[in-house]
């Protein structure tokens, strides 16, 4: 959603609901993978949407509203982690819904899927924050490099370097044993 340079005076309740409806899954997914407490996730999302609302009149559309919101969510998450002064990671319990595809995989395939998901999530928890962010944005959420440069306010080269190091880090942490399906 691009608001561009439209001179708007705040937004209606319906527009606000539409923004939450459209973007809450992605924002929830990103924050959930960074921290482990539902109450805190809720606080971060509330702050993200409220700040978005407050600044929406000044939003110039240099980036999409979505990348703008992700950058707020990432900053709020970083502040949260600093405030806690300890590293908090999501102990992700992947729901069956997430793991099971509609083609009814065999029991063996399900075990491999669960093992892979567990290995990967345990490894992601151990990644340093800047690599965890980049892996979540690029490889899990599938965002484009240009979008990530806007979200993290770093150059294309810096994004590429972090992706490169993050993946190699992840490879070490998974001990090269993500099984092929």
């Amino acid at each position: 959603m691009h608001l561009n340079n439209q001179k708007k005076t705040k937004i209606t309740d319906q527009e606000l609901s539409d923004i939450i409806e459209k973007h809450s899954n992605k924002l929830y997914s990103i924050v959930y993978r960074m921290i482990d407490n539902h109450d805190d996730i809720m606080d971060i999302l509330q702050e993200t949407f409220y700040k978005t609302y407050k600044s929406i009149d000044n939003f110039h559309g240099n980036s999409s509203l979505f990348t703008y919101m992700v950058s707020i969510a990432i900053n709020e998450t970083r502040q949260y982690i600093r405030k806690k002064k300890k590293t908090l990671f999501a102990d992700i319990n992947i729901d069956d819904e997430v793991l099971l595809s509609s083609r009814y995989p065999s029991i063996e395939e399900n075990i491999i899927k669960r093992n892979n998901a567990e290995k990967l999530n345990n490894a992601i928890k151990k990644l340093p924050e800047k690599y965890r962010e980049i892996i979540i944005l690029k490889d899990i959420e599938g965002m484009k490099i240009k979008e990530i440069t806007e979200i993290l306010s770093i150059s294309v080269q810096a994004v590429k370097t972090r992706i490169h190091r993050g993946r190699l880090f992840l490879r070490e942490l998974t001990e090269n044993n993500i099984e092929r399906m």
Binding site: L16, E21, N25, L27, H38, V98, R167
Partner: protein, 80 residues
């Protein structure tokens, strides 16, 4: 080994499809002949595939509803 160092720098560009046709062909020629680089590439491909399999999580409906209520209430209280 020196050759490997050169190609290791290009790993992610290769995986993300950012190499030119010529660079890609050169890269693939190298991994065809280098078990070490081939293994790294395969490990990384598996990791990236697994990341993709994770996908976007869905916010619980009650959280989404609470979010909408909270923001609207906060706006109302602050008179914005």
């Amino acid at each position: 080994m020196k050759e490997c160092e050169h190609f290791k720098k290009l790993l992610c560009d290769y995986l993300d499809g950012e190499l030119s046709k010529e660079q890609c062909a050169e890269f693939e020629k190298h991994i065809d002949n280098c078990t070490n680089c081939d293994e790294i590439i395969n490990n990384l491909k598996d990791i990236i595939d697994e990341c993709k399999n994770q996908g976007t999580l869905t916010i619980p409906e009650h959280m989404k509803m609470s979010l909408k209520t909270y923001i609207k209430e906060k706006i109302r209280i602050k008179g914005e």
